[in-house]
């Protein structure tokens, strides 16, 4: 029998391939990005402390999205992209 595929959809248009310069993991500015769940900040601060053993941390900053249940505002993401080369995300609960 012939059926209509209930999963069918049209793929999102590709936005092309971005080429970025290689990341310098020891020196490039880094953002620690929290999803605003409980203890995410403490977790990320622990990560920052551990990173101090292997890299500079004076250019590692912290940010949290305003609500755990809603996406980060576009302006926040754009700001992060503009200022940092590396992002570590706290995801999940």
């Amino acid at each position: 029998m012939r059926i209509v595929n209930p999963t069918f959809g049209i793929e999102p248009a590709s936005e092309g391939t971005a080429t970025a310069a290689p990341v310098d993991w020891l020196n490039d500015p880094m953002i620690l990005f929290s999803n605003n769940k409980p203890n995410a900040k403490e977790l990320l601060e622990g990560v920052r402390q551990r990173l101090s053993a292997i890299r500079r941390i004076d250019n590692i900053d912290y940010i949290a999205k305003p609500s755990a249940s809603q996406p980060a505002p576009a302006e926040t993401l754009n700001d992060v992209v503009r200022k940092y080369r590396i992002a570590l995300l706290a995801l999940g609960d």
């Binding site: 029998m1 012939r2 059926i3 209509v4 595929n5 209930p6 999963t7 069918f8 959809g9 049209i10 793929e11 999102p12 605003n36 409980p38 305003p66 609500s67 755990a68 249940s69 809603q70 996406p71 609960d93």
Partner: protein, 346 residues
């Protein structure tokens, strides 16, 4: 996952078909109606003239075709005349403020609630009265189920994979009802949202199933509302931490008592906003820190359960009995009302 819009598969008996859709990951666990080309064509005809594109559906972000949406409506058991309601509800959950991605990625037990207003409730035999949140009515069952199948199949929100609810919810099978406008002493919900009384409207919100509010004893409006305020002031509901909207659905008997005592919808909202508070004694220090960090501070020693009185949405449904319903939301969501487009004349 097959990538063609039409699939040529072997003929199979009902048992083999049930196994096939289970293997494909298309089912909610119950048997599905085969979406043959002919059945889908009849479903599409039910939305004749609706040429408004449907946006991509998260998390796969695939843009559906009218036929792939109709295939899910067929599988859910919809009649073609239900399809415009399914499309309106789908457009509602795709409005940014509904926060579909967040409501799927969360571990909270939320599902899309669909409330139908207007004349189509009667045309389609949507249950608005006794057992309106329950089983037994094809329109209620199939419309809510079709929306959920679309999110699963086109959207790719597979349970326990991209749909991360800790427990899930029975409302994930279907959660669709009509407002009991005929027995409501208040203006219909959609009219209060700015629609005409003769328009039909689907309202969606990401919510838990109904929580019962039992009050057989109180005989005045203020005593009923005092009971309800206590019932919805829960320290464990998402509304306290996420500060979002929720619904309270009065049974007709309770609604009649409120109206007899001259309670308007606005006065009810204000009363519940003021009185449904969670005292600090019921909130742990850790949670208090968390709420305050998120900008939700206690007032007079208690936390609010809604940001504003208008975030307490009031409707009337159900049948005889001294019960009402509290429908807590995901929190970070919104109640979205979308006009149902009647099919164009042939």
């Amino acid at each position: 996952m097959p990538d063609a819009e039409v699939l040529d598969i072997p003929d199979m008996d009902p048992d083999a078909w049930a196994d096939y859709v289970e293997q494909q990951g298309w089912t909610d666990g119950l048997p599905l109606v085969p979406p043959t080309e002919a059945a889908v064509a009849r479903m599409v005809e039910g939305a004749r003239g609706d040429n408004e594109p449907v946006p991509p559906i998260t998390p796969r972000l695939m843009t559906p075709t009218i036929r792939s949406l109709a295939a899910n409506a067929v599988m859910a058991g919809c009649r073609p005349e239900y399809f415009p309601v399914v499309l309106a509800a789908l457009r509602g959950v795709l409005v940014a403020d509904y926060n579909l991605h967040g409501t799927l990625a969360t571990t909270h037990s939320c599902a899309p609630m669909v409330m139908i207003n207007g004349p189509l409730r009667k045309t389609l035999n949507v249950n608005c009265g006794s057992n309106c949140f329950g089983q037994g009515w094809r329109a209620n069952a199939a419309i809510g189920r079709a929306l959920q199948l679309i999110l699963n199949n086109v959207g790719g929100a597979k349970p326990a994979v991209m749909d991360r609810l800790t427990f899930g919810s029975p409302a994930k099978y279907t959660f669709c009802f009509g407002e009991n406008e005929e027995e409501s002493p208040f203006a219909p919900y959609h009219v209060r949202q700015g629609f005409a009384a003769d328009e039909s409207v689907a309202t969606v919100i990401s919510s838990e199933p109904n929580h019962n509010l039992n009050d057989h004893g109180s005989t005045s409006g203020i005593d009923l509302l005092t009971t309800f305020a206590g019932g919805i002031a829960s320290p464990a509901a998402n509304n306290i931490s996420a500060k979002g909207p929720f619904f309270i659905v009065f049974g007709p008997e309770h609604a009649a008592t409120l109206a007899r005592d001259n309670w308007t919808v606005e006065a009810i909202q204000q009363f519940l906003f003021d009185k449904a508070r969670v005292p600090l004694s019921e909130v742990s220090a850790e949670n208090r820190y968390r709420y305050e960090t998120g900008g939700n501070f206690p007032e007079n020693g208690a936390f609010k359960v809604a940001p504003t009185p208008e975030d307490i949405h009031v409707a009337v449904a159900g049948g005889p009995g001294k019960h009402s319903a509290w429908i807590p939301s995901f929190g970070g969501t919104a109640a979205i009302s979308v006009r149902i487009k009647p099919p164009a004349a042939a």
